[in-house]
């Protein structure tokens, strides 16, 4: 029994000392309560949904959410490479660390785009999409939006992964940054029905523009209540280019050091 208590005490100490674990366990449920509850109570009335079909409405959000998860998991491979020793080998190779980052981000981007497009295409047979610009143009607009949002998220994840020491800390920061953005992006409920202060947050949220572009491409039958593709792509393109370049510029400390 005393051994069990000693082990329990050691585990408790580890949790108390690992602040990321403490915060992440509590913050995500709190975010759900405050933001999802608020948004659903204001926005999830059939009258507030453009076509009254919540399943079809969720597809754009699901595609953006796939990009969020994909970029997070792909960038976490940085930690796997560090632990398996691959980074150590690369640190001794005649390539600049930015080349390494570029290679890793290209893989993350490719995975994110394929996964997000797969979610969209898998949903298509089960949901009554409008494809208001036609199927081919709609798919092209969707692909462009997905590429840009993945570029932006990969850049962000990479910039964080190359500077944060632990994978737990990385996941905590990504969750803290991206879950609120998802809630206020129109991914789960329309932003039109939100209180004014939440709408302001939605409009400074880059994911809002990705969700908007995807909804316009696959779901909306008009664009009266949407932001518009021009603004969506302008915002996404600027942010994607900026974030991706920042991600590449954050050269990791790839040194092999011993004593």
């Amino acid at each position: 029994m005393s051994a069990a208590l000693v082990i329990a005490r050691r585990d408790l100490l580890a949790v108390v000392r690992s602040r990321s674990q403490l915060y992440s366990s509590m913050l995500t449920p709190i975010l759900f309560l405050v933001f999802l509850g608020n948004g659903v109570s204001h926005g999830l009335e059939p009258a507030n949904l453009p076509d009254g079909n919540f399943t079809a409405y969720l597809v754009a959000g699901a595609v953006v959410m796939t990009s969020v998860f994909s970029s997070t998991f792909s960038s976490a491979s940085y930690y796997r490479d560090r632990d398996s020793g691959v980074l150590r080998l690369l640190a001794s190779a005649p390539v600049h660390p930015r080349v390494l980052l570029l290679g890793k981000s290209l893989a993350a981007l490719a995975i994110g785009v394929v996964q997000a497009m797969a979610v969209l295409l898998l949903a298509a047979p089960f949901v009554d999409f409008e494809w208001q610009y036609g199927l081919v143009a709609g798919l092209f607009v969707s692909l462009a939006a997905i590429v840009l949002v993945n570029l932006m998220l990969t850049g962000l994840a990479q910039a964080l992964a190359s500077r944060i020491q632990t994978m737990q800390g990385f996941h905590l920061l990504m969750n803290l940054a991206l879950f609120p953005l998802l809630f206020f992006s129109g991914a789960f409920f329309p932003i039109d029905g939100l209180p004014a202060w939440l709408r302001v947050l939605a409009f400074v949220n880059p994911l809002t523009y990705a969700v908007d572009a995807l909804e316009l491409a696959v779901y909306a039958s008009g664009d009266a209540t949407f932001i518009g593709l021009g603004v969506d792509f302008a915002v996404l393109a600027v942010l994607a280019a900026g974030t991706y370049l920042v991600g590449l510029a954050r050269t990791p400390k790839l040194t092999y050091s011993g004593a």
Partner: protein, 308 residues
């Protein structure tokens, strides 16, 4: 080819207020196997790391393969690190292709080079196996094969045989020496017998600097001919000082209950010892002087009390 593969002069390198290298100077002749020997934390891995990264030192000068440290120079170096660098999710052949491409070897050349090296290191039938399925010794051989892929001129080995058995160690060294003919090998190790067996020259390192260097034979030549290990728990400082003063006696060092003495003639030393401490000496072992004896002559034991 430059006369020296590495020339380091008065190098300093600090980590968090501690000097890992402090006035480190060393010349490593080209095309030899050179050993860096020293206790943990002595600075040998730091020096290897500096060479592997081709980083210029904070102070002092460093010349690698006749040139200043630069990223471009890394194509001419290879490092086998203490830990494996192979991704366990990759297959052995895939890993070598990945590493070869990163080091700039053309894909067409790798198609012949990889099977050739795998065969040479006894892994010819394991190319398609996941790295995770290879034994510890096989992974070390895979690392050695990886290091030779791009035909380096300087091979840095940081404790490459740690954790593998004697047979694997022998296979690794045999293959390395036959595969890396004109290559300079710089070996950092704690294993004195390994260094004695494979190195043409060695340097003893302590406190971030070289305290002695030369060929194993030169370093051993400075010693008395025989090494006597005495189990003598009650030996006093006075008794050890008396032993140290006997004619023909070299180093006297204590490590716990064991006293190690080098002497010209064990046959006269041992009877004298039993006369000095009758009943107190539990056992005596006599051996020919080894590189280990030379090492302990130059490198202070951390826990022992050197009496002279």
């Amino acid at each position: 080819m430059a006369q020296y593969a590495v020339r380091a002069s008065n190098i300093t390198r600090g980590y968090g207020g501690r000097k890992a290298l402090d006035g480190f100077s060393l010349d490593v002749p080209a095309a030899c196997v050179f050993g860096l020997l020293g206790p943990n934390g002595s600075g040998k891995s730091t020096f290897i790391a500096m060479l592997a990264a081709t980083e210029p030192p904070e102070t002092g000068s460093l010349e690698i393969l006749g040139g200043s440290p630069s990223r471009a120079l890394r194509c001419r170096l290879a490092t086998v690190f203490q830990e494996n660098t192979a991704d366990p999710l990759m297959r052995a052949g895939e890993y070598l292709r990945f590493a070869g491409r990163v080091f700039g070897v053309p894909s067409s050349e790798l198609s012949t080079r990889i099977p050739e090296l795998l065969e040479r290191f006894g892994l010819g039938d394991r190319a398609a196996d996941p790295v995770s399925s290879l034994s510890g010794g096989m992974r070390r051989r895979l690392e050695a094969a990886r290091a030779l892929l791009h035909r380096p001129e300087l091979l840095l080995l940081d404790e490459p045989t740690t954790g593998i058995d004697a047979e694997e160690r022998a296979i690794l060294w045999e293959t390395l020496r036959s595969s890396a003919d004109a290559v300079t090998i710089l070996l950092a190790t704690n294993d004195l017998s390994e260094a004695d067996a494979v190195c043409d020259s060695v340097a003893f390192i302590q406190g971030g600097r070289v305290v002695a260097s030369g060929s194993p034979a030169q370093l051993k030549a400075g010693l008395r001919r025989e090494s006597v290990r005495i189990a003598w728990p009650t030996a006093s400082e006075g008794e050890l000082a008396e032993v140290a003063g006997w004619p023909g006696t070299g180093e006297v060092a204590r490590d716990g209950d064991i006293v190690v003495v080098t002497t010209d003639e064990a046959s006269t030393f041992v009877p004298r010892l039993f006369a000095l401490a009758p009943g107190a000496v539990r056992s005596v072992t006599i051996a020919t002087a080894s590189l280990e004896d030379a090492y302990f002559q130059h490198v202070q034991r951390r826990t022992g009390e050197a009496s002279r």
